[in-house]
């Protein structure tokens, strides 16, 4: 019951968004019902629709969890975008260095490790790099009190520019017009789900990273609610004064929460680099980091909510392409309208909830 009512507001937001979006479609001159049928039908068709929906949801699960963990500590991590960029590059870099990459006679690598060693190393490097990149603003906040929102945004610019630089001047295949690194070693590839689950076509890019995303949801839940670290992080977020009183080193929690958050964001690199493109590709992120904020917001900063919200956004991304292609007037921007309205409504929740709870608040106030 408690959980059902938790779902209520996000649900209202989603439905309201669809209504508003429908009005837009009508104004543009297409049939809203047909458009939504196309949107949802193409996102849930088997196997390509569902496969792509889950594939799109994967990075959003990671970034949504990342934002949620930081938020539980009272921090707004706007820097997941930068974190996932540096992490993706780091994953590509280590997979080139240890994956025996040779392109056009140029040997980029130090060694050629087997998959059993390389894949875990690459994943770990991605996570650690993301964690490191997020821990910097965390440390600045803990040590100097500088605001994490500003610093994470700054770190986005720095991270993305730095990675572009390394890609262009050190790890690009000579003559390649595309800003991407050389291909990573085959040993670093993580398998697509289709390659070992019968019934899923191998053409779908859905890969093991999706399973990692589910695992991450479970682990984040356990971390936040079943470990002392999670307790201390949540206590810090809920009431830093009380946390301090409870003997919790608030500053340490801030750095820890940011690092965990960044590590989760970094896992996007696993999906993109090890599971899909097999290289670092500039501009690969369709604003996963920023959409992650929306996902966390809609998912109420809870792993289950984040998972569901990411699925919804994955669906919209998938369906949006079909709407763009197969309607006469509606473009893919419809999806952005839907996302924006969802967020608007969720953001209004505090307001609505306020009037919802005014009575219960009064009930509690001193009488």
């Amino acid at each position: 019951m408690k959980h059902l009512s938790e779902l209520l507001f996000p649900l209202i937001a989603v439905i309201a968004a669809f209504i508003v979006g429908g009005i837009f479609v009508l104004i543009i001159g297409d049939d809203p019902i047909l458009t939504y049928q196309l949107l949802i039908g193409s996102a849930l068709s088997w196997p390509d629709g569902i496969g792509y929906t889950l594939f799109y949801a994967t990075p959003l699960i990671f970034t949504g969890l990342a934002v949620a963990v930081a938020f539980r500590c009272g921090l707004l991590n706007i820097g997941t975008e930068g974190q996932l960029y540096v992490a993706a590059f780091a994953a590509a870099w280590i997979s080139i260095k240890l994956g025996g990459t040779v392109v056009g006679g140029v040997n980029y690598s130090w060694a050629s490790l087997p998959a059993l060693a390389l894949v875990p190393i690459a994943c770990l490097v991605a996570i650690l790099m993301g964690a490191f990149w997020a821990a910097i603003p965390g440390y600045l906040k803990a040590r100097f009190g500088s605001h994490e929102v500003i610093n994470t945004i700054m770190m986005n610019f720095i991270g993305i520019a730095l990675v572009s630089y390394f890609t262009q001047y050190y790890y690009k295949t000579p003559g390649d017009p595309i800003m991407e690194t050389a291909e990573i070693g085959v040993a670093a590839h993580i398998p697509r789900l289709g390659s070992f689950i019968p019934g899923i076509p191998t053409r779908l890019p859905l890969n093991v990273a999706f399973l990692l995303a589910i695992l991450a949801c479970v682990l984040v839940y356990i971390f936040l609610w079943k470990t002392k670290w999670g307790y201390e992080i949540r206590a810090t977020g809920a009431n830093p004064s009380a946390a301090e009183y409870g003997g919790i080193a608030v500053r340490k929690q801030i750095v820890l929460a940011m690092a965990v958050s960044g590590g989760l964001a970094g896992m996007v690199g696993i999906n993109e680099v090890l599971g899909y493109r097999y290289r670092y590709y500039e501009g690969f992120s369709a604003s996963y980091g920023f959409t992650g904020i929306a996902v966390a917001l809609l998912g109420r900063n809870h792993p289950v909510g984040v998972f569901l919200a990411a699925l919804l956004f994955g669906m919209l991304n998938r369906g949006g392409i079909f709407v763009d292609a197969f309607t006469d007037h509606v473009s893919k921007d419809l999806v952005e309208v839907l996302q924006a309205v969802v967020i608007l409504f969720v953001a209004c929740e505090a307001f609505f909830r306020g009037s919802f709870n005014r009575f219960s608040l009064l009930r509690r106030s001193k009488v």
């Binding site: 002392k228 307790y231 009380a242 009183y245 003997g247 009930r363 001193k366 009488v367």
Partner: protein, 503 residues
Amino acid sequence: MLELRDITKRFGEVLANDRINIKITEGTIHAIVGENGAGKSTIMRIAYGFYTADSGEILVDGQVRRIDTPHDAIAQGIGMVHQHFMLVENMTVAENIVLGSEPGSAAALDLKSASQKIRALSEEFKLAINPSAVIETLSVGQQQRVELLKALYRDARLLILDEPTAVLTPQEVEEFFTILRGMREQGKTVVIITHKLDEVLAISDEVTVMRDGRVVGRVKTKDTNAAELARMMVGRDVLLRVEKPDADAGATVLSLQDLRVMGMDGTPRVDGLTFDVRAGEVVGIAGVEGNGQTELIESLAGLTEPELVSGRVEFEGRDITTATAKERKQMGVAHIPEDRHRRGLLLDFDLAENSILGVQDREPIVSFAGVMLDNGAIERRARQIIKDFDVRPANPALPARSLSGGNQQKLIIGREFDLHPKLLLVAQPTRGVDIGAIEFIHRKLIALRDAGCAILLVSAELEEVTALADRLLVIHEGKIVGEVDPKVATTEEIGLMMTGGHR
């Protein structure tokens, strides 16, 4: 003058007022008493138009009146002074008073004539308020009188005062009561909402007692006594005095040497304190709020930035001046903070989670690998505290926010007692707590003392510190201005020291 008939008010599922009948006689001081949550503020807010009753009627001078907004109430000559003042700090008294009822045309604010009227009112009721004074330069007691003036300026004949003495020193309370008596003589009617029985007996003519949203008694003050009122409020006999044997003080547990604590603005808040607290005794700190008590307790609990603290603090002979809160907790220092919402509780967390704040990283709360929380152990601990300290409702899964102040406080006290501390720092242990719970908390504190714990107690309730403390230190502007024997010293004597005078 004012009569409330069969007023019923419901908030969601909670029946805040159940068929309340109150009759207030013109020209009297009428006290409405009851524990927190008894519904006394609600009924008065209905009378002032803040809330609208679900049913029942309000009569003013025998006529049924609709009072839907405070505006209606003011029109009927009803004024209210809230517990938290509603004054604009950087404006003058006159500006504050005319705010919302600007005289003259809207364009030209006629402050001059307003000031004259305020001056006249101030003289008539002996309030001694200068209309051109800026609010932030006034003391709390003076600000309260500005609030009174605000109501009088709007021609209030009936003044409703919500817990007016909570913010005042003993001297200010006495002055305030003199003012109220003066108003009664001028024909005003006063309703005073309180839970302090001695004040009820000192000031009122009639008393209405409320419990659980109902009126449970109506008496003339001269026909009653504190014990009877307390029994009506709580529904059972209440021990008003703290019964305690003499302290059997042991070894020194806490020792302060020239402790200084700076505020964030660089001024000293605690200014060279030197004293000891021994095992098995309660040392009380009396003082007007804001004289360094908060900073003293927080620094002793390890919650102050080390660079703001100088001097030396020893715990069982060890220097803990720069120890962290966690280290102090582990040594056996427990702390009941003065502000339970800010410091003591995670309001959105449930009782079980709140019950482990401070021990979240210790056995048996963490079990597997020293990392995983043991839900069973958490629940057992929560249930134990809930049982031992009678926290209601007894459901560990409820959010702390949903509990009443008294039950929140009992949860905190239970949690800290469960640490089996050698030293307990306790600030305002019964602030905003019901009479029944106060008695319970006091007994628990004495029991802890008798078990050999050293207790340092800070309270704004002079009565409370004198009742509980074995030794009483009086603090003023961060300095100890004297030590008295609480069994001998009088309230006046201590009160004078608290304001910086000497005995």
